[in-house]
């Protein structure tokens, strides 16, 4: 492994970070936007995990949600629409020392970014991927997204959207090498934090779909959910995500073994409730960035090896 970028000159790191150390400029989302809660929870996570700001990288695409990195004081890469995952993979591949997070909107990830999404799940690099799913195109002003409920009126489908929504978790679970797949909601910070912590600690790609309120365009969709906690079904398991606060708060709880892929897939078809928690976890899935680690060489060694190459091609 090439370690040239891995060590910081100087003494061991004895800093302690508070949530404020991760605070960037004021976020510019609409009042009441669920993204605020996710941002606050993220700062909390960074503090809990004591991730060094300079070793932490948030990568995003384009959308309201993709402004996320700007509002943190870590390294950030606000990319282009749908392409956060290749950028993040490129970052992680040769810099395993970085803590890489990816933030995408539902259009960003499941529409224009769908191909990269499928393949990132398969590559399974060690990073945390947050899908901020407000069921709509926020930044471009209310167009249908693949997760928009059927018959929901938007600017491009004013008579209501035509198709049943795509279930991001169902698609993810169809891909070989999926290794950590969870669902949570921005308005349940305790569950959100517990889920993000488990994700951050998981080795491999952890995919979290976060139901995200967009008071501007889809308030009717989410208001109902926020106001009827009984619609939620909390998934529990010894190997899953458990937060005592959440367990107390919600009436509906069920046991789900996250190692059971068939059960996880079946759960995505649940219509009576919205399951929140860890759908699936597989700690044995191959991790592409680890498979691709190779030996590092000094310049002298490289030059000698290149001379050998020349020899092979010498006249």
């Amino acid at each position: 492994m090439d370690t040239s970028l891995l060590d910081i000159s100087g003494a061991a790191d004895e800093r302690t970070f508070t949530a404020n150390d991760y605070k960037g400029p004021t976020a510019r989302w609409c009042p009441g936007c669920g993204d605020f809660s996710i941002l606050a929870t993220t700062r909390r996570l960074l503090e809990l995990e004591q991730l060094a700001p300079e070793k932490t990288l948030f990568v995003s695409g384009i959308g309201c949600s993709s402004r996320f990195p700007h509002y943190l004081k870590t390294y950030g890469f606000h990319g282009i629409h749908g392409r956060a995952l290749p950028l993040a993979l490129g970052a992680k591949l040769r810099r395993p020392d970085l803590h890489v997070f990816v933030v995408m909107g539902d259009g960003d990830c499941t529409s224009i970014g769908a191909g990269h999404w499928i393949h990132a799940i398969r590559y399974n690099p060690n990073m945390t991927v947050l899908l901020l799913d407000n069921n709509i195109y926020g930044l471009t002003k209310k167009q249908t997204s693949p997760t928009t409920p059927v018959n929901y009126k938007t600017n491009t489908q004013p008579k209501g959207s035509y198709l049943n929504p795509l279930h991001p978790i169902s698609v993810t679970l169809g891909v070989a090498n999926a290794s950590f797949v969870a669902q949570t909601a921005d308005w349940i910070p305790a569950h959100l934090l517990a889920t993000m912590r488990a994700a951050q600690q998981h080795k491999g790609l952890s995919f979290i779909r976060i139901l995200q309120r967009c008071p501007k365009w889809t308030i009717d969709i989410f208001d109902a959910k926020v106001k009827t906690p009984d619609e939620m079904m909390i998934l529990n398991h010894a190997n899953g995500i458990t937060d005592p606060k959440v367990q107390k708060m919600y009436k509906n709880q069920m046991e789900h073994d996250p190692s059971d892929l068939d059960a996880a897939r079946a759960l995505t078809g649940m219509t009576s409730h919205i399951p929140l928690g860890l759908f699936y976890k597989n700690e044995d899935a191959a991790i592409y960035n680890e498979l691709r680690m190779n030996k590092s060489f000094t310049t002298e060694e490289k030059m000698a090896n290149l001379e050998k190459e020349f020899d092979r091609y010498a006249v």
Partner: protein, 636 residues
Amino acid sequence: MSSSQSASSEDAQEVYEKVITGLGDKTYTDHSCEVVSDAGEGAQKCGQGFGALSAKMGNGAWTVEIIPAEIEPPPRTPGSTSGVGIRIGQDKITNAGDAVKLVIAFNEQVLLSRHRVNAMSDDCIILIDSKWRTHVNPKVVGEWEDAMKEMSTKNYKWILVPLEAETLKVVDNPKLGKNMFALGLLCHIYDRDVQIAKDQVAYTFRKKPPAVTEANHKLLEAGIAWAAENLDFRFLVPARPPTSELLVMNGNEAFGMGALAAGIDVCAMYPITPASSVSHYLADVYDNFGGMVHQAEDEIAAIGVALGSSYTGKTAMTITSGPGLALKGEFIGLALMIEMPLIIIDVQRGGPSTGLPTKVEQSDLLCVLYGQPGDGPKIVMAPSSIEECFHCIITARQIAETLRTCVFILSDANLATGQTPFERPKLDAKWMAGPPKQTSVPEGSRPYEWNLDTGISERFIPGQRGGEHTVTGLNHDESSRVNYEPATNQLGHAMRSRKIAVFAETLNAPIPYGGDEGDLLIVGWGSTRGAIEEAVDRARAKGLKASSLHLTFLSPLQPGIKEACDKFTKVMTVELNYSDASDDPHITPTNRRRGQLATLLRAQLLIDCGSWGKVHGAPLQPAVLLGIIEKYIPKA
């Protein structure tokens, strides 16, 4: 009757019997030939081997691949032709040259395909397997006769060779043996060193069991023996003992080694002809250099991975060809906007769209220069030889990092698959310089702290304490904060443009080849250099005052181009891309669509240049260009 007369179907019976050309042995400064077979019969191995062994003897050499656009199309159809053209010389050979003077053809259909594209000179000697003329299947015989009729318009000299019959004396499966028998023929005809030839054969089959090499040695010898017995001519191209150590490879391998020499960490790509083989080479050896080829899910992801790697301090490149380039435009815009070093190699092929995927063209210049929405200043360079393919990556990395920008390298199918020897590079440790250090960022410094005079700034890399910032494709200020103000947007644009102008100041004026004044200056770029300069030599030998100017940088342009042009009565670009001809119907100076370099020179320098461009999917032949020069320079 003599077998050297042209073929026609009426007297087909007699023509191909005897092998008397009456040519005898003759010495040449250079000579060129082709070996063509159905795909899968190994003509490529024969031709490439012949080129390599000639180089080893000290000859100049250039090989050019003839590749079908399918993998193994039906045999005995013109589209199934696979082969190699080889030109060898006493001195350095810089291009594939003109129509060849000798062909070994495994059947008449593949030969016909070469005839149809005027690959053979009018007096070309053709050695062809005699098997088909008397084939049991009358359909085959009919095809043979039709082909002969079609080819009878030329004065080819025909020599029937019992290629398959002789091969069968040595091996059971002639499909896997004819090529080495053919190599034997060439070795005799060109008087090659037999030991070097045998070494070459051994090298070709080094990964196979020794019995394979043995059998092929026998075939080689059989070919030599048959030729010695049956042919009455030889083409002698004496070799000069090499004065320096040489390497022989194609342009894509040279790119691969250049990337190693330049310390490139990551090559992210998606397969596409004719670029893929750069990554095939690198994938084979990168583990010995700590590097990585990443085959992405598509071209967009490929450049995304490269850009992500570059952001984190790794040196990265992406390789592609036309259709893939088209997909990278959005990410290129982002890379330019965030001023991220990146190397993009475009190995051009015939376009537009899928076009002619295995053939040469130089039609991506304007796309690379102007192909992204918004303003996109960048560096564009084009190697003009296989040797330059190696060296330009080293330069490209240095420019990309110094200027924080994208550097495009425009190669093409001709350089990609052509092989020629060049001087073994003397490596320099500086080329491989490690990535920037991870030291803390001094307080108060900003990620785009542009030098307002030069536009240049220093970047911060994840891991650097105090350098935390978010790069963004939105307009941003010096702190990388999103900004929508007019002045900031204007400043960012100016800075990104300015640094290119500053870089231009470091470039040297290109030097005209031939002489620095005269009647006609030909301006070219990329792989055509060898052919253009050879045409200039020939023109000057005829007393014509033609010169050429070859451009390595297309953005920014080198200084002095206009001044160089001003010393000639006429200036004309020569490119392998499309140009309306000035005398085409409906074409006026106003609506004429000119070649891409012509468009650039006119736009940037107001040079009133002519434009010659052809999209024949074939390398430029010096003789063709000589014809053009003669047309443009009035006879004294």
